[in-house]
């Protein structure tokens, strides 16, 4: 590798690692805050950081993400300000959706991260439509759609894959295969391996080690390149694991005996650290400073956001239509 190339790779990977650490630090902060009653609910991302950031590395800021409720690491890597995430979780007056959605339903239009819905996989046909626009308008942008392994059983998944293939659209379906859909293991979700489902639609399907940020990046980059060249959609089955519970309301001890411990060899933070060390991109000193900096940023941002007041009650009944209806106006008058 040339010097310039190597230094470019170094800065790319250090940025990725920094985002992984930041995401992990924020994740833990929110989980603790939920236990303290400072946050209502959260869906932790621990275990999925590397795959999300690997995928995000393959995108430009003009590409669009139609993500789901576990995509905080990807958002952070993309440059979504941390306060956008924390304000959403707190549902305060600075939240771009004014506290209307429960925590983990993020949105950041400025960074082309589409507002997240709860019904799983319903973002996939929508992402396919957004990809239609990119093709029709010849924008050269691609759409990345994310979802979990459980979501592959839905009709929306099949509809989206089929239509994306039929219309040959620039969309990448990234399955964040964490092995579980709440309590159902992926083996009971589907008999076939997820990446093989692409064949049914005449689409490219691949499996990657989602724990490996470099591998995920390379595979996604190839898919993005093909999409930009008009070669159509790709399904990527990024295999990782859910280190934490499904959500802060879930108790996995009822259905799961084995888990990946934080700091163990399979923890994506540790794996990424090792990779970067072996390439000589980081050392213990840099790791320490990245981690302590992340902790400070997270603590500071969290307390800053916690001071922001809630939205006005009347805002809970706005933006239903471009112009409100007489029905709603009357009902709201009665409430407030």
């Amino acid at each position: 590798m040339q010097e310039a190339e190597k230094s470019e790779e170094k800065s790319r990977l250090v940025k990725a690692y920094t985002a992984i650490v930041l995401a992990r630090t924020l994740d833990k902060k929110i989980v603790v805050a939920q236990r303290q009653g400072r946050v209502g609910f959260y869906t932790p991302t621990m275990g999925q950081e590397a795959l999300q950031i690997g995928a995000s590395m393959a995108l430009t800021e003009k590409d669009l993400i139609y993500g789901y409720y576990r995509d905080v690491p990807m958002m952070l890597h993309r440059g979504v300000p941390m306060e956008v995430i924390i304000n959403q979780i707190m549902g305060n007056s600075e939240d771009s959706a004014l506290g209307r959605q429960m925590p983990s339903h993020f949105s950041d239009k400025k960074r082309n991260f589409m507002s997240v819905q709860s019904p799983v996989a319903t973002n996939l046909p929508v992402a396919t439509g957004a990809a239609f626009t990119q093709k029709y308008r010849k924008t050269n942008s691609v759409v990345l759609a994310t979802f979990g392994d459980g979501s592959t059983s839905t009709p929306d998944f099949h509809a989206a894959m089929n239509m994306a293939a039929v219309f040959n659209l620039p969309v990448i379906f990234l399955c964040e295969n964490n092995g579980w859909a709440i309590s159902l293991p992926v083996e009971k979700q589907t008999i076939a391996e997820i990446w093989t489902k692409a064949a049914a639609y005449g689409m490219r399907g691949l499996r990657v080690n989602g724990n490996d940020v470099i591998e995920t990046h390379e595979v996604t980059l190839e898919a993005v390149k093909r999409a930009r060249e008009g070669k159509g959609p790709t399904l990527i089955d990024a295999v990782s694991f859910r280190m934490g519970p499904h959500s802060t309301s879930d108790d996995p001890s009822k259905y799961r005996s084995e888990t990946v411990e934080e700091g163990s060899d399979r923890d994506p933070v540790v794996v990424t650290e090792k990779t970067l060390k072996s390439r000589g991109y980081i050392d213990d000193k840099l790791i320490e400073s990245i981690k302590s900096r992340a902790q400070k940023i997270v603590d500071d941002k969290f307390e800053e956001c916690a001071k922001i007041p809630p939205p006005e009650p009347k805002s809970a009944f706005e933006d239903v239509y471009g112009k409100s209806t007489w029905m709603l106006d009357e009902e709201v008058k009665d409430i407030l």
Binding site: A130, T133, D156
Partner: protein
């Protein structure tokens, strides 16, 4: 002015709008080469190309989902659902995506999409080609529900619905697609949404109706010399309460007519809204002539559909209240 039927008027609305705005995209089953099973999109693929008039795979939730995605990214999609009866697999996309995106993004994202779909009975379509499901949509905050009753309205209302800014469920009364002709202006024109039309005026009774029932009620009133207002809602949600109340204050007698099943149909909501606002003006009960709470039958569909006999029975009953 040209005399045409509703299918031709809708086609003209699509044609004129597409010619003026390349962000308008059509998608649906058999709408391209075939021009749609009811021929509403006839000739448009030839004129605007397969990139703008898209024949899709047979999957309603995919059609609607894609239309939403197009709308979110700057296009103005118009999706056709071949029959309203087949829209139900797409209800999740309609209710949980289309209707909620403006709200859940505090107005940052909007869905300027039109879903056109033929609805209602009268073509011997049996239980799966005759449903009137307007209540399902009207009960969802965020959706605008429109239904025309004649060719001229069909054109103007569709033009207003395109790029309206919020998702519009555009219900086309297929029974009168071709049975009624009318003079239609040649160029593009808009008929405002959320505004009802008083299509016949009189003093004794207010009939509130929409879609295919407008001509049925009008024929009954004309034949029997009923001296009443007939209000064509045009927009079902949000319906035009002002026009309704104004008429009720004049007549004191109210009849609501729709094809959809009675229980929790639009008539129920309209009755309640009138009772809340114009109780003092009412001389008698608010009556409803509607389809029954059963599936839509094949062989005996004429028994299901409200007709002159049932309408006049209700009118006569109301006239006893003075």
């Amino acid at each position: 002015m040209t005399e045409m039927n509703m299918v031709q008027a809708l086609n003209s609305a699509l044609d004129l709008s597409m010619a003026a705005d390349d962000s308008i995209i059509l998608l649906g089953e058999d709408i391209g080469v075939d021009g749609g099973v009811f021929r509403v999109t006839e000739g448009l693929q030839k004129k605007y190309g397969p990139e703008r008039v898209n024949d899709t795979p047979l999957v309603e939730l995919g059609i609607v989902g894609m239309a939403i995605g197009m709308a979110l990214t700057g296009l103005k999609p118009i999706a056709e659902i071949q029959f309203q009866d087949f829209i139900y697999t797409a209800m999740d996309q309609i209710i949980n995506q289309a209707a909620k995106i403006r709200y859940r993004s505090a107005g940052q994202y909007t869905v300027p999409m039109v879903l056109r779909t033929p609805y209602g009975g009268g073509i011997k379509g049996g239980l799966y080609h005759s449903q009137s499901g307007e209540t399902y949509f009207a009960h969802t905050a965020g959706l605008t529900v429109v239904s025309p009753s004649n060719p001229a309205d069909a054109k103007g209302l569709l033009i207003s619905s395109i790029g309206y800014g919020d998702p519009v469920i555009f219900l086309e009364p297929k029974r009168i697609y071709r049975t009624i002709k009318g003079e239609v202006k040649d160029g593009s024109y808009a008929i405002p949404l959320r505004k009802a039309a008083v299509v016949r005026e009189g003093d004794d009774i207010t009939a509130i109706t929409y879609g295919s029932m407008v001509p049925t009620v009008r024929d009954a009133f004309e034949k029997n010399n009923v001296n009443g207002d007939i209000i064509d809602l045009r927009t079902l949600m949000p319906f035009d309460i002002e026009t309704i109340v104004k008429s009720v204050e004049k007549t004191g007698r109210v009849l609501v007519v729709h094809e959809a099943p009675r229980t929790l149909g639009l008539g129920a909501e309209i009755s309640a809204a009138i009772a809340e606002r114009a109780m003092e003006s009412l001389l008698g009960p608010i009556l409803r002539v509607t389809g029954p709470d059963s599936p839509f039958p094949y062989r005996h569909e004429e028994y299901y559909l409200p007709n002159e006999k049932r309408i006049m029975k209700a009118v006569n009953k109301l006239s006893e209240y003075r």
